[in-house]
Symmetry: C2
Subunit: 184 residues, 2 copies
C-alpha cells in the first residue's frame, strides 16, 4: 500500500510558526520507515522555480501555483510530498486542493503573530517592523488561515516533535504512510 | 524492474523537427504497457512554471533549468519523464545531464531548418521570417546540436512511428521500460 500512496502534506502558517522544524522531524521519521519523500519548501522553490518573483499578491500566487503544479505531478505518481511555504492566501490553497483531491492534506501550523515574532529565528520580524522588509506576512501583508484544514498543529502548546507525531498518526490512520517499525 | 526505473527522455530539436508527434506515439505505447509517465512539453511548462519568461538566452536557460529541476524530482522517484522543449543550448542540457546522471537519455530530433520550415505545422517559421516573431530558434536564434546524444532521431528519413519504435527499442535494451506484450 503506502509506497504507492502519493499525497501532499501542505503546510500553511506564518514565518516562524514551525513549518520547517516540524518538516525536519517528519523527514527523519519517514526516511527511517523507507518512504519516498520530496520536500518543497519556500526557499527551494523560490530558487529553482520562481527566481525573479517578488512578494506582491500576484507573485505569491504564482509561486504557490507552481508548488502545487509540481506537488501534483509527484503525488499523482505515488510520491509523497511535503510543501512548507507560508502560502498565505486561501483561494490558491483551495486551487491546490481542487487539483489534488483526496491526496491533499492541509496542515495549519498555528501560532500567533506575537509568538512568531518573539521566536523570530531568522530575524525577519525585526526587519519587517523596521520597514527593511516590505510585504511581510502577518505584519504588513495578510495571512488567511484555513477554514477546514485536515490538521491544526498548535505549536504554542506542543513541541515540534509532538507536532510531527500528531501528523504521523494522522497519516498512518489514513493509510498514507507505512506504520512505525515496532521497537525490538 | 521497470516500474521503479525512473528516467528522463530529453528531446532536443528545432520547432517542427517532430518532438511532439513522436511524443504522442510514445505516450500511447507506454500507457499500453502500463508504465507511469509524465510529459513536460514546452507549452505545458511555459504555462505552469515559466509564465512571464521570454525567449532571450537568459530566459530560455531559466525555463530549461526549471524543466530539469522537475524532471529530476520525478525521475529520481521512479517516474519516467519525457521532456519535449527545443532546449537549444548545449550547456544547459549538459547541466540537466549532470543532475540526472544515468537517468538522462538525450534524444536529438534531427531535421534541417529547411525541412522544418517546409513543414511549418504551426506557421511559426513564416512569422519568424516576416519578423513577427523575434528570437526564433534556427532562424534568428542559435540551435546547438548535442555532440554525443544517446539517440539521434532522423525524422527526414523515417516516420514518427518509426522514430518512436527506435526509441522504445533503446529504452527496452537499457531495461528502462517494460517489454512490449507479445501479440496473442
Amino acid at each position: 500500500m503506502a509506497d504507492e500512496n502519493g499525497f501532499c502534506l501542505w503546510f500553511t502558517g506564518l514565518s516562524g510558526s514551525g513549518k520547517s522544524t516540524i518538516t525536519t522531524h517528519l523527514v527523519k521519521e519517514l526516511r527511517k520507515r523507507g518512504s519516498k519523500l520530496e520536500v518543497l519548501d519556500g526557499d527551494v522553490v523560490r530558487e529553482n522555480l520562481s527566481k525573479g518573483l517578488g512578494f506582491s499578491k500576484e507573485d505569491r500566487d504564482t509561486n504557490i501555483r507552481r508548488i502545487a503544479f509540481v506537488a501534483n505531478l509527484l503525488s499523482r505518481n505515488g510520491v509523497p510530498v511535503i510543501t512548507a511555504a507560508i502560502s498565505p492566501y486561501r483561494e490558491i490553497r483551495d486551487e491546490a486542493r481542487q487539483m489534488m483531491g483526496d491526496r491533499f492534506v492541509e496542515a495549519y501550523v498555528k501560532a500567533s503573530v506575537e509568538t512568531c515574532e518573539q521566536r523570530d529565528v531568522k530575524g525577519l520580524y525585526a526587519k519587517a517592523r523596521s520597514g527593511e522588509i516590505k510585504e511581510f506576512t502577518g505584519v504588513s501583508d495578510p495571512y488567511e488561515p484555513p477554514e477546514d484544514p485536515e490538521l491544526v498543529i498548535e505549536t504554542e502548546r506542543q513541541s515540534a516533535e509532538e507536532s510531527a507525531h500528531q501528523i504521523l498518526a494522522y497519516l498512518e490512520e489514513r493509510d498514507l504512510i507505512p506504520a512505525a517499525v515496532a521497537a525490538a
